[in-house]
């Protein structure tokens, strides 16, 4: 246990066991965990889970694949440029299996283009699995799942080259994007592809909204895998997201009313850990 002897001066604990100022943070993690758990448990026992509204950008995924099938051209998927430790990349993984399955079913070519070696490895495995589950392992071509470059703009250049050579009919971009978002969306738009773009990078979102046919805004990408899976258990977790937002909205309302009535009151702020 020698290697645990690192910190010399430690902060004073709160309530005996919590690091300073982290009680409320932990309560939130625990609270959301409990809500998700309850919703999942409800779904497992077959009880009713509220309907999820239609998300146009996700409904359009099947339409895009259908269009590509009709035209006999490939579908491209890009999972952003960050690695597996970013939640947006994890959200992208949730969509890959759905898209790959649809492509396997309709015998449409599926291209996944990667900028980080780790998502590349994961997506290759998900796609292989999807083709297997659709009974088309022969149709899976490992060369269509590509690692292009770990360098942002070298990657972008390579993708644009593929757009020009292979002429895909549909381009689905979900994940963490930076400046390349606009370059990719511009090229795709000019080539008349049907494009779906989604990211939680707020600086890049406007370009997806302006240049793509459908866009997924922020939180919508995190609901995507649950939405597409159509499984009650996963639906339950999306409902839990809504519950947390209701709690947040209520706190904001109470806080604003308090601030209006008694501007000097810090009660609520103190409860929320003094932020």
């Amino acid at each position: 246990m020698m290697w645990l002897l690192a910190q010399e001066q430690a902060p004073v604990p709160t309530l005996g066991i919590f690091s300073a100022g982290s009680v409320i943070d932990f309560a939130i993690v625990l609270g959301l965990g409990v809500i998700i758990w309850v919703m999942v448990a409800r779904a497992r026992t077959g009880r009713k889970i509220p309907e999820i509204k239609k998300i146009a950008g996700l409904e359009a995924v099947d339409e895009a694949i259908g269009r590509a099938t009709e035209m006999g051209r490939p579908v491209v998927f890009i999972p952003g440029i960050l690695s597996v430790d970013n939640p947006q990349t994890l959200a992208a993984f949730g969509m890959v299996s759905h898209i790959a399955r649809q492509c396997a079913r309709y015998d449409t070519r599926f291209l996944a283009l990667n900028c980080d070696p780790l998502p590349y490895a994961v997506i290759e495995e998900i796609t292989r699995q999807a083709y297997l589950e659709e009974g088309r392992p022969d149709a899976f071509n490992p060369d269509d799942i590509r690692f292009l470059s770990a360098e942002q703009f070298a990657f972008t250049g390579a993708v644009i080259g593929i757009f020009e050579r292979e002429r895909p009919a549909a381009n689905i971009m979900i994940g963490a994007f930076y400046a390349e978002a606009m370059m990719l969306a511009e090229t795709g738009s000019f080539q008349g592809m049907i494009q779906i773009g989604g990211t939680a990078m707020t600086a890049q979102l406007p370009f997806f909204v302006a240049a793509c046919d459908y866009s997924l805004i922020g939180e919508e990408i995190y609901a995507a895998s649950a939405y597409l899976s159509k499984e009650p258990v996963m639906y339950g977790t999306v409902v839990a997201q809504d519950w947390l937002k209701i709690v947040l909205a209520l706190i904001i309302v109470v806080g604003a009313v308090l601030a209006t009535v008694s501007p000097d009151s810090t009660v609520l702020r103190d409860i929320l850990g003094g932020y």
């Binding site: 309907e51 770990a150 406007p206 809504d242 806080g255 929320l272």
Partner: protein
Amino acid sequence: MHITSDPGIWCQAICTLAVYTYLYKDNPIFRIAENVFLGLATTYWFVYSFFNYIKPAIVEWIGTNGQYHYVLAIILGLLIFFRYVPSLSWIARYPMSFWVGYGTGYTLAFTPAVWLNQITASFVALNSLQNILIFVGILCTLVYFFFTLAKENPVVGGIAEVGKWYIMIALGSAFGNTVLYRWNLFLGRANMLITQWLGYTG
């Protein structure tokens, strides 16, 4: 005007101009520049992380300090190469799981502090038009993101619609700022060429 004789600046200028040839069309000069860049970048980050993490781990942490558990960290990292062995490729899932777990934990542990503050910042006194607009906007935007509320309901639908307006205005602001920023990047390069390379000081 006095053109520099510094070979470093010349190298920078040539690299810059080589990339800009792409604006005319894709051509061999650009593709050479692109591949030189890709090669250098790949190696640079590898060398950087080797001398900052791998070497210190072996020499100092394990060698000098005797923190032998870092041997396991190195082995864990190396397991990713099992993906090249088809029959054992599942072993590569172990390091992957560790990274995902770390990222997951990090998201859970470090983000609440930041957005809790965003919540308390929304406790605005409803006594000015500006504050009321902020307050209403935050709530409407949150409603827009509700996945289970029936948007067919005219009241809910109306609120979500207002939320959408707020979202589009925020994204429009982001758009407007980004356009100007992108051109600033070009100005940076142009400035390098004009002042440092060509020596124009007017």
